[in-house]
Amino acid sequence: MYNYAPPPTPRITLVEAVDRTSARTLRIPTFRRLNEGWERSAGSSEYLTRFRIFEEMIHELDNLSHLTNDWNAYGSPAPSPNAIEAADRILNALQTIFLRPTRILPSAEGGVAITFLSASQNRAVMEALNNGERFILLYDLNGNNETIEWQITDPSSSMALLERLRNHLRGSRLASA
């Protein structure tokens, strides 16, 4: 005689579920070994190191959007979204040639300042201001300096300027003031 009763459904108990999960978690040491291996390779990967450095810089840049006007008690305006966006583009360009800034700061004139120190006496700051001004200030510890305006939208001149910035930070001399 045919039996029309549905086949019995296997009941999955909590114990079984835990067992199955535990079966996987037993492999945690393996996972850890794999993860540590990945971390080691990430540490030796120049690409990932660059990526992380600039990721942190972009995070610092994002934090500037939380500033309010008069953040320094000298009446300075907070960086505008446009200035932050321009600074973001600058960071992208810097990442391309891996020219690492020292810090990202708000500018007293309203905007974002990206600063560079070097082992020599040469220093530099790139500023993207709220009023649309974009420039690089190359200077040294003797007060010599040069201001170069920068049109971020022109890729060829941007690369030339970044190379000049790199050479300056490597120690090329500025004309005496």
């Binding site: 000298y74 009446g75 020292t102 007293a108 200030l137 510890l141 003797n142």
Partner: protein, 183 residues
């Protein structure tokens, strides 16, 4: 004598607007004080990128602020009355002499600009002054807004001339430090 009282710490509050003499001329030796946030320093070094609070506005009252030493002590620079009511007690104080102010600096259009200190007392901060800007030789010293090139030139030079106040002033005793050697 008022200046000496301040230097030797005879008072704790900044002088008020009605306690200072705006007709008193600046000498080249008079010191100027400016507070600097610790976040603006890297390894104790101050440069234009750290000194991100030098700005000029369309009006002279928007020019960079300093306190004139004749009517203030270095600690006034971080006093709430001289910081727009904000607590800036964690800031450092830097100084320079009036004679160290850079200039003349040449602008892109060939004008030579100088930066006279102008005493602009505030109601609760009588020593408040600004670094003005005018064309060299202009007898009326009419304020002009400096170009970007000149502003940056000024910032780069100021950064190398401003020095930490601890070089000449003992914060604990609120007294000037007497050099123990002859340079």
């Amino acid at each position: 004598m008022k200046g000496l009282e301040i230097i030797f710490g005879a008072r704790d509050l900044p002088l008020l607007e009605n306690q200072v003499d705006t007709n008193s001329a600046f000498s080249d030796e008079e010191l100027l004080y400016r507070r600097v946030s610790t976040s603006e320093l890297t390894g104790g070094e101050l440069d234009p990128s750290r000194l991100n609070s030098i700005s000029f506005d369309k009006e002279i009252d928007g020019a960079p602020s300093v306190l004139r030493g004749r009517f203030s002590s270095p600690l006034d620079a971080i006093h709430v009355d001289c910081a727009g009511g904000k607590d800036k007690s964690d800031c450092l104080v830097y100084f320079m002499a009036v004679g160290e102010i850079p200039g003349p600096l040449r602008s892109g259009d060939g004008r030579d600009l100088v930066f006279p200190i102008v005493h602009r007392p505030l109601p609760r901060c009588g020593a408040h002054s600004v670094i003005g800007c005018c064309e060299e030789g202009n007898p009326e010293k009419t304020y002009v807004v400096p170009s970007r090139k000149v502003r940056n030139d000024l910032r780069a030079k100021l950064a190398t001339r401003l020095l930490p106040i601890t070089q000449i002033f003992d914060i604990a005793t609120k007294k000037p430090i007497t050099p123990s050697f002859t340079p």
